[in-house]
């Protein structure tokens, strides 16, 4: 009997492992070849108990707002999301993020188009927390036309949409060299996006020196959160579920042994 438990468990893990290997290969197949060596960053959100670094996310939001947002939208995000639990500007005093004055202030930095309720004419007004991050170009063709023929991708899920995830985004941002501004070894050659970051491109409110490396890390932290805003909730519930299941499994084992105590099998 013992051996069959062992074989069952080993079998299960072998299959899981194989599934893993299969998908890793599947993902790796999408990578383009280059000599550039990807730097692996130890992210704050890595691992079983990993969480987002709030200060880094806040700086990252500033980089997004002042640099990326001139071309890239966050179309699946509203300003209120910034104040959600686990988000960069969460404040426990404001369970409804739309009441959070910081979020209101951040939304107010943006302008969105709306319809005047009296005249029906298109107007521009300051954004409120319930507004989506606004579109930057009126359509995809216009976006491509202003950016060397390639529409800038939306950044809401970009960290999930690239194999390599956060490491890929970070490396892409730091891999430019000054002599070839239209080439990026991480991207695999010609890239429509010219090097977006340069020393002191933003001035951080918390005094952190705005090096290219620092800004790349910060904006990646912010975009990682944007792509998976419920990660902290998921991991903390996951831990509780795993502990619960582990106890249940042990009890189930003893139940099984008790029921079968008089049966040789």
């Amino acid at each position: 009997m013992k051996t069959s438990i062992k074989t069952a468990i080993i079998g299960a893990f072998t299959l899981i492992g194989a599934a893993f290997a299969g998908t890793t290969i599947a993902n790796a197949a999408g990578d383009s070849e280059s000599d550039y060596e990807m730097k692996h960053i130890h992210w704050h959100f890595d691992g079983f108990r990993g969480t987002y670094d709030r200060a880094a996310m806040q700086r990252g939001y500033q980089v997004y707002k002042e640099v990326c947002a001139s071309c890239h939208q966050l179309k699946f995000m509203s300003f209120r999301h910034l104040g959600d639990k686990g988000g960069p500007f969460y404040d426990e005093h404001f369970k409804n993020p739309s009441d959070n004055p910081v979020v209101k202030g951040l939304a107010g930095d943006w302008e969105v188009t709306d319809i005047d309720l009296d005249t029906g004419e298109e107007i521009t007004r300051k954004a409120i927390p319930s507004d989506n991050f606004p579109a930057i170009y009126s359509n995809k063709i216009a976006a491509a036309a202003s950016n060397n023929g390639k529409a800038p991708p939306d950044l809401s899920v970009i960290v999930k949409a690239r194999s390599g995830g956060a490491d890929y985004i970070y490396n892409l941002l730091v891999a430019y060299d000054e002599e070839h501004p239209t080439e990026n070894p991480v991207f695999g050659g010609q890239i429509a996006m010219a090097a977006p970051l340069y020393e002191d491109a933003v001035e951080y409110a918390d005094g952190t020196p705005a090096t290219v490396d620092q800004m790349a890390k910060d904006v990646t932290e912010f975009l990682a959160w944007a792509a998976d805003p419920k990660m902290e909730q998921r991991k903390s519930l996951g831990l509780a579920v795993m502990i619960y299941l582990l106890i249940l499994t042990i009890l189930a084992w003893f139940t099984y042994k008790q029921v079968w105590r008089n049966v040789k099998h």
Binding site: T7, I16, S32
Partner: protein, 414 residues
């Protein structure tokens, strides 16, 4: 449902009244006391696990359908809305997506177990064939479901797979257009795929009912492959196998939870987080991991039509397996040589899965990937069409124990 004499006796007025009109309580009671071979090992717990998977997929799926929008303009966004704004949507959506992988993981173990212990042999051919039908409908459901998030792999996977039908001589193009509802994968396709994806799980549930019925009628197979001969050889399903299945389900749920909470995207492809774009083909179109072996078979031959025929034949051959295996001995435990061929078969399936993920020209140990696929495809079919028919005639099986009870009391090797 049962294949054994009923021992249920209605005790009170209501149950007696019901028993004469609709003996549904009797059916449930007979199900719970069903005599199962006493030697079923952990490989036999996957039936219960799969039932759980089906129920979990249906429940999460029904809730997701309440929030999902099947439209080319809104599908991708609605999945994002589910994950960001629907209460617990961040849990339900990955539960359904990871659940599909776990479902296939369990079904593959269940099928390999059936192969190893000869569970397809008389009198259980219908149990096996119904199982094959379930697997076929599962594949269809999985494929249709993968289209719904409307990512790049959804779109291009759907384009490639519906393209198979275009390879049928003469009528191919018409059939393909009829399936798609147009000339290419578009809104009409997405809508019908959503409709069918909602329908098929209930078809699966119905066939599962038949599968379990057939199994109860013919009796369960067991690791030694000998029919129970006395009362000693069997145990009541409850509490013995409910307790054992429950323990196995807990282990399975631990693995499920590990993926769900910590690596929800590890079994999918990053490209599916890019919204579908008909003008931009991904560098490598690959299906979900559970279809990779068939994808490798498809690409193993240079002709598209032949590849498609081989791929369908790889599933079709399972249906005639009960008549291909000529051995009277069910369990591989007593077939020392065939057991080795079986292990090689499992390895071939893994090789196919591995090479299904690669490009045909990728070199592996100095040999192009496509040649690995070809070798493994050749072995896959040889196992069913040559090895099993021939080995049954020439192999001398080991001595089998007289009964299940004797085997568990240590008179047989495992």
């Amino acid at each position: 449902m049962s294949g054994h004499p009923s021992t249920y006796e209605p005790k009170n007025g209501f149950t007696k009244w019901m028993d004469q009109r609709l003996p549904i309580i009797r059916m449930g009671a007979d199900f719970m006391t069903y005599p199962s071979p006493r030697n079923l090992n952990y490989w036999y717990t996957f039936g219960g696990i799969l039932t759980l998977c089906l129920v979990a997929q249906i429940i999460t799926g029904i809730i997701l359908a309440m929030h999902y929008t099947p439209s080319v303009d809104a599908a991708f966004e609605s999945v994002q809305r589910i994950k960001r704004d629907v209460p617990f949507g961040w849990l339900l959506q990955p539960m359904h997506a990871v659940g599909a992988s776990m479902f296939f993981f369990a079904v593959y173990i269940h099928m390999f177990r059936g192969l190893y212990y000869g569970s397809y042999k008389a009198p259980r051919e219908m149990v096996w064939i119904l199982g094959c039908v379930i697997y076929l409908v599962m594949m269809a459901t999985g494929f249709l479901g993968y289209t719904l998030p409307w990512g790049q792999m959804s779109f291009w996977g759907a384009t490639v797979i519906t393209g198979f039908f275009g390879a049928i001589p003469v009528v191919g193009e018409s059939v393909q257009q009829w399936l798609l509802g147009g000339y290419a994968v578009d809104n009409a396709t997405l809508n019908r795929f959503f409709s069918l994806h909602y329908l098929l799980p209930f078809v699966i549930a119905a066939i599962v009912g038949l599968h379990v019925w057939a199994m109860h009628h013919a009796g369960q197979n067991n690791p030694v492959g000998i029919e129970p001969k006395s009362k000693e050889d069997t145990l009541s399903f409850h509490p013995y196998y409910t307790a054992k299945d429950f323990f196995a389900i807990c282990i399975f749920l631990l693995i499920f939870a590990y993926f769900l909470f910590y690596y929800p995207d590890s079994l999918g492809h990053a490209d599916n987080y890019i919204e579908a774009d008909a003008l931009e083909t991904p560098a490598h179109i690959v299906p979900e991991w559970y279809f990779l072996p068939f994808y490798a078979i498809l690409r193993a031959v240079p002709s598209k039509l032949l590849g498609i025929l081989l791929m369908f034949a790889a599933v079709a051959v399972l249906f005639i397996l009960p008549w291909l295996d000529t051995s009277k001995v069910r369990s591989m435990r007593f077939r020392p040589v065939t057991k080795l061929w079986f292990i090689l078969f499992v390895i071939a399936c893994f090789v196919l899965g591995w090479h299904g993920a690669l490009s045909p020209d990728d070199p592996v140990m100095g040999v192009k990937s496509v040649w690995w696929s070809r070798a493994a495809t050749l072995y896959y079919f040889s196992f069913f069409l040559i090895i099993l028919p021939v080995m049954g005639l020439i192999e001398t099986p080991k001595d089998r124990p007289d009964s299940i009870t004797k085997s568990v009391l240590g008179e047989a090797s495992s």
